[in-house]
């Protein structure tokens, strides 16, 4: 492959300057997508800008219960933050379904988001959790919902010269629980045929007061299914409510047929998986309200 220039700046501002001066440059986080694409010839950036030497871009900061995950934080490093594992286990589990241990030691949260694969495992979990991200660029910084970043397979809404600096998660709400499940034909080293991220809040009597349900690999981007969430809110997650949720999930699917699964299979599985994921999130939310009682 033609060799790009290599930069390893120490600050976010330097990255902004490098990107402004070279529109064909690409930022490098974990490299598990970028380097593969460079080697296959799919992309030929003029320069690669390594983000991992920038303080604060690797690792998780906990600030008054909120979490700031540096965009260059490796998936496995999320497990080192006990508060994050306790608050958002679904997000940590989703990131740690990606690839192998070797890949997860490199693959990052920012990269999984900005590679913009419809099947990215961490993205539905982040969207369900209500995550936002901080974007830096020539016009300064802005904070946008994670769900606003993917624009289609391999495409993001980032403007030229912009990159994701960190991902932010709110404190876990009282009575809250989250989960992520994906369907693949084996147990490891595969790409989601369907993914479902769920975040729920249950009141003291078990009534669902808030829900977010996000699906992966069933549309060009992650889908936040508001009708599915609405089917659960106000219910005690009884079978009738779960049936309405499943129906809304199926209605939101716009999948493709490919070697991993047919559109019909994906649509049917999305409902099955969403139901299983809701059940895990419910157990977590209940254990939360029990431990507080």
């Amino acid at each position: 492959m033609p060799s790009p220039a290599f930069h390893a700046p120490g600050t976010v501002d330097e990255v902004v300057g490098l990107l402004a001066g070279d529109p064909q440059a690409r930022v490098l986080a974990g490299g598990t997508d970028l380097i593969v694409q460079m080697r296959s010839g799919r992309i030929a950036p003029s320069a690669v800008i390594d983000l991992k030497r920038i303080g604060g871009m690797s690792g998780v900061r906990v600030e008054a219960g909120t979490f700031a995950i540096g965009a260059a934080t490796a998936c496995t490093a999320l497990k080192d933050c006990a508060e994050l594992v306790a608050a958002w286990p679904g997000v940590v589990e989703a990131a740690n379904l990606i690839g192998s241990v070797q890949v997860r030691n490199r693959a990052t949260m920012g990269g999984n988001l900005c590679n913009a694969s419809p099947a990215a495992d961490s993205v539905p979990a982040l969207v369900a959790a209500g995550a936002t991200c901080v974007v830096a660029g020539p016009a300064g910084r802005r904070e946008v919902p994670v769900a606003a970043i993917p624009a289609g397979p391999g495409k993001t809404s980032l403007a030229p010269g912009e990159f994701v600096v960190e991902i932010r998660l709110p404190p876990r709400p009282a009575g809250g629980g989250d989960a992520y499940l994906r369907s693949i034909p084996r147990t490891e080293m595969d790409i989601a045929v369907v993914g479902a991220g769920v975040s729920l809040v249950l009141g003291p009597d078990g009534t669902c007061t808030s829900a977010r349900i996000a699906l992966g690999a069933v549309a060009p981007t992650v889908v936040l299914v508001e009708d599915a969430a609405a089917a659960l809110v106000g219910s005690r997650l009884d079978d009738a409510a779960l049936d309405r949720m499943a129906e809304a999930v199926r209605a939101a699917c716009r999948p493709i047929d490919d070697k991993r699964g047919t559109a019909g299979y994906r649509t049917a599985m999305a409902a099955v998986l969403a139901r299983r994921t809701v059940n895990i999130a419910r157990e977590r939310a209940q254990s939360e309200s029990t431990s507080k009682a």
Binding site: P2, F6, L28, V48, V101, Q102
Partner: protein, 162 residues
């Protein structure tokens, strides 16, 4: 494009090499430093034949740019044995016949050692999940898993206070 000078530590020794900015760590190890134990199977992070340990974490060296190794610690298959003394993982691979063609073996040994370095008593299931990113087309994996379990047992015994 001019070459980059990279200073790094490989298997405990300070090393310097020149590389293209787009070269991978695997290419630098094999072509600049002559450490040909790490293999390129797929070049896309699927097979694990190029597994090395970078600052304590095992990674696919085909998915690391050589320039990223500046100032880092790299451990390769060449550093696993101590002189002519094989590491227990290597010895057990021999005893159990956990290889045929051998192409995947360096990656498996680096990965298995990385597991046992931080988890001295893995379950068989933990071994299989840990090694999911290492592909072997010869053995069917059973002998590899048995060798790793046996190496773990031996290492636990060696570490027991006398």
């Amino acid at each position: 494009m001019s070459k980059l000078l990279v200073s790094t530590t490989v298997n405990g020794d300070a090393q310097e090499f020149l590389c293209d900015p787009g070269a991978t760590l695997l290419e630098a190890l094999r072509e600049q430093l002559g450490l040909t134990g790490s293999k390129e199977g797929c070049g896309s992070g699927d097979c694990g034949a190029c597994t090395v340990v970078l600052d304590g974490n095992m990674v696919c060296s085909c998915l690391v740019l050589a320039a990223e190794a500046e100032g880092r610690q790299v451990a390769t298959i060449e550093g696993v044995a101590e002189g002519s003394m094989l590491h227990p993982v290597q010895q057990k691979f021999l005893e159990h016949g956990a290889l045929q063609c051998g192409f995947c073996t360096p990656g498996f040994i680096v990965a298995a050692k990385a597991l046992l370095d931080h988890n001295p008593a893995p379950s068989e299931s933990e071994v299989r999940y840990w090694l999911a990113g290492n592909l072997c087309r010869c053995t069917g994996y059973d002998k590899i898993v048995r060798a790793v379990m046996d190496a773990a047992a031996q290492l636990r015994q060696e570490r027991m206070p006398a």
